[in-house]
Amino acid sequence: MGRQLLIDTMKHKKTERAPWVPFSGVHAGMLLGYTATEVLTDADKLYDSVMETFRLYSPDGLPVIFDLQVEAEILGCKLMWSDDCPPSVADHPLEGKEPEIPCSCKLPTEESGRIPVILNAMRRLKTEIGEKTALYGLICGPFTLASHLRGSDIFMDMVEEEEYVTELLDFCADAAIRMIDFYIDAGMDVIAVVDPLVSQISPGHFEEFLTEPFKALFDYIRSKGALSSFFVCGNATRQIENMCKTGPDGISVDENVAIKPAKEISDRYNIAMGGNIPLTTTMLHGTQQDNMKYIIDMLDELTPGNFIVSPGCDMPYHTPVENAVAAASAARNPDEARKMIANYTPAVLNIPVDLPDYTALERPLIEVFTIDSETCAACTYMMEAALDAKRHFGDDIDVIEYKYTIKENIARTAKMGIKNLPTMCVNGEIVWISIIPNRQQLFDRIQKELNKTE
């Protein structure tokens, strides 16, 4: 049974193959023609969509919903909804104010926001397919939730208001505990604490602010008899060791992390690693063979066991069904797939792009290379930092975002020599890779460029 395979893997037992967990969040809705908004707000559509994912992709484990904005919405953030991606946070209730902690009476209850919708779908799915596949309840990690509430001010707070950050994270961890209770009671086997922004801070800040709340959450999940996973996206390479020390049963990373060295670290802590089929280049824009080849190459590269095959993060809405089916078949029958791609050579993306003449710019140019600032929280906050600078410097600077979801930008990213997203460049120079500059750092850098032109 797929569910047992997944549980055994997360309990670090020997298994016949690596389990397959497609993170089909909004993509599940696409399978039945529902928009992202529909599938994230309607219990019946959510249930039907997840059932369709189960039918088509034969998963060993499956998230019921992939939306990191559920808690933020309850805590007062306005959301911007979209047809083909999860909503993004449009404002931050604690931003630009004196440090403030919301009252505990604002914490989620079973009746808050969209929680009734989610719990309804979870309970029905547990009854229908819960014996066959492991169900994941995804919650927003405390650091990303704190960023949703406080906006990019949080990065400055970490330098100037350390005590406040600790208190705010404590509050956000309380929200997480509520969600853990609801989701475990609704039958979820695995609670994934999803905190994409973890990749955007230094290991020192992780140890200072995040080790304790994350360890408490994973200990709490374990005490309730469920399994836990720590999801991160972006280049979290430097955080893998810190993440392991918080004691989850599993870790999941995206394509920004080189999976082999990352798994070597997680193996030392006996934690299951999961990942990391590239979302855009492979799942969205690649072919069936590309998907199979990525998985086979990955499995062949890794030491066996303690591993879960999955996309790097929430699958793009428009992922072609045949690509996900191919991924499923490679994950479930690697020997067959290995034969099928034996002589396959991936096509090289060949789109001509012209880079600006960085030596002849009229004003400083801030280029933000993102997966998509509407879907990736780390990208959202890096883009927000750039837009904050734009508001401050006005017409004295230019700001542009290149989303990786557009093929031309994949070629541009490659031509710039950028290996990780999000990345911020100033006048063509790669300055911040997977780390969000605080206001002061960014403004100082721009001012330096402005001083040169004066």
């Binding site: 919301p102 009252c103 408490a216 709490y220």
Partner: protein
């Protein structure tokens, strides 16, 4: 007109001990009680049983915070209509009573009969007051808005240390009548005569009391008594307060710990162990409890 006395004081200072003394002394009168607890388990409620008073319990926060204020006002309205001579309100440990007068006014607007507000009595923990008043603004406010302050547990400190605590209390509230006591043994009737100075009502600082973390541990197991006490001894220094009724192999045990000081006495065997733990180390208390529990319980206890 019903007379109202408010009892404040930090977690573990001795508020419930004082309230029990008051209810014993005031037995000839008809008394009502509102108890406000920080955690989700009703420990004080159980400790006060047997006095035959009307009791309302307000859990999970401070009655001076926006989240519980409405419930508090409703309780005041209800109690004002009850056939009682005295109403005693025991506030939770971090309650900031600066807005008590405003709340009474709001209760009046909501239909309450007027109360004769006798003011507040604050119980200060002699051992821990100096340390806590530095970091917890609600404690200063509790002193400032009191007519009487009981420096409790003076048997655990030297007379010089007691002088120091008294000096600090006096600096915050020069007009308060100060008593030094062990187990809140003070002339009870005199408390109601120490009316609080008429400080202007202010906004309660209890907007953020939600950040004090109360974890309720539940377990159906009956561990060895010594193991349970060792567990509480391990958690005590990480908590402002640990209290509750526990199951042990030797029968029921009431635990009351404040910092390093752990008190216990036999009680009826509860159906389940319920220990309220108020963390002084933030969320990491969860990991610490679960780690310490491994040596005491065979299954992880339920934490809420």
């Amino acid at each position: 007109m019903t007379k109202l006395l408010l009892i404040t004081g930090f977690l573990g200072a001795g508020k419930t001990t004082l309230l029990n003394r008051i209810l014993t002394e005031y037995a000839p009168y008809k008394a009502g009680v509102i108890v406000n607890e920080y955690g989700s388990a009703a420990v004080d409620d159980a400790l006060l049983e047997g006095h035959g008073t009307d009791m309302t319990l307000l859990k999970n926060g401070s009655v001076f915070c926006a989240c519980l204020k409405d419930d508090f006002i409703k309780a005041l309205v209800d109690m004002s209509r009850a056939d009682i001579d005295y109403l005693f309100v025991e506030a939770s440990g971090l309650s900031d009573p600066a807005n008590m007068v405003t709340i009474l006014e709001a209760a009046k607007q909501a239909g309450s009969r007027p109360y004769n507000y006798l003011g507040a009595v604050c119980v200060a923990d002699a051992v821990r007051f100096t340390r806590h008043v530095m970091v917890l603004p609600a404690l200063s406010s509790q002193i400032a808005y009191s007519g009487a302050v009981i420096i409790n547990k003076t048997d655990l400190i030297t007379p010089e240390e007691a002088d120091d605590v008294e000096e600090k209390v006096h600096a915050i509230n020069p007009s308060a009548v100060i008593y030094r006591a062990v187990r809140c043994d003070v002339p009870i009737y005199s408390l109601a005569r120490c009316r609080s100075v008429s400080l202007l009502p202010a906004e309660s600082s209890n907007k953020r009391t939600g950040r004090l973390r109360a974890v309720t541990l539940r377990s159906g197991e009956s561990p060895d008594r010594d193991k349970l006490l060792a567990f509480v001894g391990e958690i005590g220094p990480l908590a402002y307060r640990v209290k509750g009724f526990c199951r042990t192999g030797d029968g029921g045990l009431y635990i009351s710990a404040a910092g390093d000081l752990v008190e216990s006495e036999a009680c009826d065997l509860p159906d389940v162990t319920e220990l309220v733990i108020i963390s002084s180390v933030g969320i990491s208390i969860i990991s610490k409890i679960l780690e310490a529990a491994e040596k005491c319980f065979s299954e992880p206890p339920e934490l809420k």
